[in-house]
């Protein structure tokens, strides 16, 4: 099959390969279906970006893309690339500006049927308590530089130490909510400045906080381990490192552009600029990225705590009655040093996941004890009108995708197209008819984020499930959403 002049060879029904050609160091591989190729990949430059990533020095096995692939900058969204830590590079473009953008889902003991008449009040309280929107700030007091630096080093642990979470929250967070060896001296003054008043803020764009109900369970054993039951109310939070993360990426792109001659890399896109992982520049970026990742984990932790308080207040119930527990927290924009099997040998590689979720299998040492039997929870938000999924990682993911899976539905329409599609329609009413109440800072965001702007997340999740990469556990349906 040829798409935009690029040859795609079918490996199986859900995996397609771009043969190595030109300056590619490895072939490209895209997890998708024929239907999705024809419907979505024809329309943008994402396949070309998979090829561009294959040019990275030291890239191992394949330049990969998950089924939610769409056109990004540098890497495609949904891109995964692992580079050799001795001979390979680290690329800020392989992580993105919103470092450790991610998702967490918390469970409650609430049943949808019991609270369905109180949804407007819950929604209003959440919207009032959780800062949203462009430049949002002020969830907690303005931090001192010392406090901010503590967050950058400690991640979610800072929130827990300050009474904004529990030890259980830490255990159920990827990396335990803290990447080690985060050195704040690798951050610019501007990065620190941008973090001062944004801890505990949702931001704008595709970030959201929503309440979901468990609609269908596919895997009873895994659902039980996560404490899920049909009709249960869950809280899902999607946000990242806010302005601090954007500044880190921006700062290091500039630094690396200035060292292009030193390293002599010739890459097809300036956004892919990179440095050898073991160079001073590469190590400094890795450290700064860890600081931003820690900020993001703390951010989601603080928002989760605020959400818990908002639910208790709006429903007038106690903490025990709410029984609010973090199921898991995953990041989907990150670079991590991990061990993977490369051609029969265990090697340390730097896995870039840009719009891709870690999906480690059962028994893996890096996942919480609670999930050792079932595999790591993979949280896959869909659009705000249809559904989202919880899945678990598998051995197949370790064999084929460096332990990675999809991260969401993936955009189908540009924001501009979505605004045109939504023009003249009462979108809030349309969502209400689907059983979803929404509060947002502006109608524009609602139009940009409507279900018609996204792929059907079921198609995406099914490709991963049928490939054996991440296996479906439960389907969730949103019923209350707040956005910036």
């Amino acid at each position: 099959m040829k798409i935009k002049g690029i040859e795609l060879e079918k490996v199986h029904d859900y995996l397609w390969e771009i043969p190595k050609h030109g300056g590619m160091n490895v072939p490209g591989r895209i997890y998708t279906s024929k239907k999705m190729i024809e419907e979505t990949l024809q329309n943008d430059e994402a396949i070309k970006q998979v090829i561009n990533v294959a040019h990275l020095p030291g890239i191992q096995k394949y330049s990969l893309a998950m089924p939610d692939i769409h056109w990004g900058y540098g890497f495609p969204i949904g891109g995964v690339a692992a580079t050799d830590i001795n001979e390979g590079v680290i690329s800020p473009g392989g992580v993105g500006y919103d470092i450790n953008c991610g998702v967490r889902i918390a469970s409650t003991s609430l049943k949808f049927e019991e609270i369905k008449n109180r949804i407007p009040k819950i929604l209003e309280t959440l919207f009032k308590k959780v800062p949203t929107g462009v430049g949002s700030s002020g969830a907690i007091h303005k931090l001192t530089t010392k406090e901010l630096k503590n967050i950058l080093v400690k991640g979610s642990h800072w929130a827990v130490e300050n009474g904004l979470g529990t030890e259980g929250d830490i255990e159920q967070t990827e990396e335990s909510g803290q990447m080690k060896d985060a050195d704040t001296s690798t951050l610019s003054g501007r990065a620190l400045e941008r973090g001062m008043d944004q801890a505990g803020t949702l931001g704008s764009g595709n970030h959201f906080l929503e309440l979901d109900v468990v609609e269908e369970i596919y895997d009873n054993t895994s659902a039980e381990a996560m404490g899920l039951f049909n009709g249960q109310v869950l809280v899902m939070i999607h946000t990242g490192s806010r302005g601090l993360g954007y500044q880190v990426c921006d700062d290091y792109l500039k630094i690396l552009h200035n060292t292009e001659k030193k390293f002599g890399f010739n890459l097809p896109d300036k956004q892919l600029t990179c440095a050898p992982i073991n160079s001073e520049e590469g190590q400094n970026y890795l450290s700064a990225m860890k600081c931003a990742a820690n900020f993001a984990w703390n951010n989601r932790q603080v928002i989760m705590f605020i959400s818990k308080k908002a639910l208790m207040e709006s429903l007038n119930i106690s903490e025990t009655e709410l029984n609010f527990k973090l199921i898991y927290d995953v990041c989907h924009n990150i670079a991590k040093i991990e061990e993977h099997n490369i051609d029969g040998k265990i090697k340390k590689v730097c896995v870039h996941r840009k719009g891709a979720t870690r999906a480690f299998p059962p028994k893996n040492n890096n996942i919480p004890d609670k999930y050792k039997k079932i595999g790591q929870p993979v949280l896959i938000p869909g659009d705000m009108g249809r559904y989202s999924y919880i899945a678990v990682g598998s051995d197949k993911a370790m064999e084929e995708t460096f332990g990675s899976s999809c991260h969401g539905a993936g955009r189908l329409q540009s924001r501009h197209q979505a605004l045109k599609t939504g023009k003249g329609r009462n979108l809030i009413d349309e969502l209400k008819k689907r059983g979803v109440l929404i509060m947002a800072k502006g109608n524009k965001t609602i139009a940009e984020e409507m279900p018609f702007a996204y792929k059907d997340v079921s198609d995406v999740v099914n490709v991963m499930h049928n490939s054996g990469i991440s296996l479906k556990v439960a389907k969730l349906k949103p019923f209350a959403v707040i956005k910036g």
Binding site: N43, H70, G72, Y73, G135, S204, C249, K270, S414
Partner: protein
């Protein structure tokens, strides 16, 4: 003066900017930026003057760093730099430089003027190319 138009991009916002001269290309790119982030209004009262001085290794990077600077001014300092009084480009021993004077107004972080938050100005496929009428560049804003 140059012209700009929005170009379809699946996840982010892309603008194509055309201008006769390099200086116009920079000024029109800034206008395109403000058109994306806010409701650009010629009557907007300006109450401050800012000076921006940048150096970079090549002209494309300089353009992105210039837009990145006004994005920082808006997102962090809440300076809506709605007017460019002067913009000079040149070469020096380090590469290329920009000296610019901007008219600015302090706005509230959640001002009605703002309609979009640009996380960053990306370097994606950045290339200033020649056309029959001058110069062209396509810029992708991460939102």
């Amino acid at each position: 003066m140059g012209e700009f138009r929005l170009v379809e991009h699946t996840a982010d916002i892309s603008v194509e900017v055309n201008a006769h001269t390099l200086q116009d290309l920079f000024i029109t790119s800034a206008e395109a930026y403000y058109n994306v982030v806010g409701t650009f209004n010629d009557d907007l009262h300006l109450d401050e003057e800012l000076e921006v001085n940048l150096t970079s290794t090549n002209i494309e990077y300089l353009l992105i760093e210039f837009l990145g600077e006004i994005n920082y001014q808006l997102n962090v300092k809440h300076n809506f730099c709605g007017k460019i009084f002067s913009l000079n480009l040149g070469e020096n021993n380090n590469g290329v430089f920009l000296d610019c004077r901007l008219g600015s107004r302090k706005i509230e972080a959640e001002s009605d003027i703002l309609k979009e938050e640009i996380k960053a100005v990306t370097y994606h496929n950045i290339n200033i190319g020649k056309t029959d009428n001058g110069l062209k560049v396509t810029i992708v804003f991460d939102i």
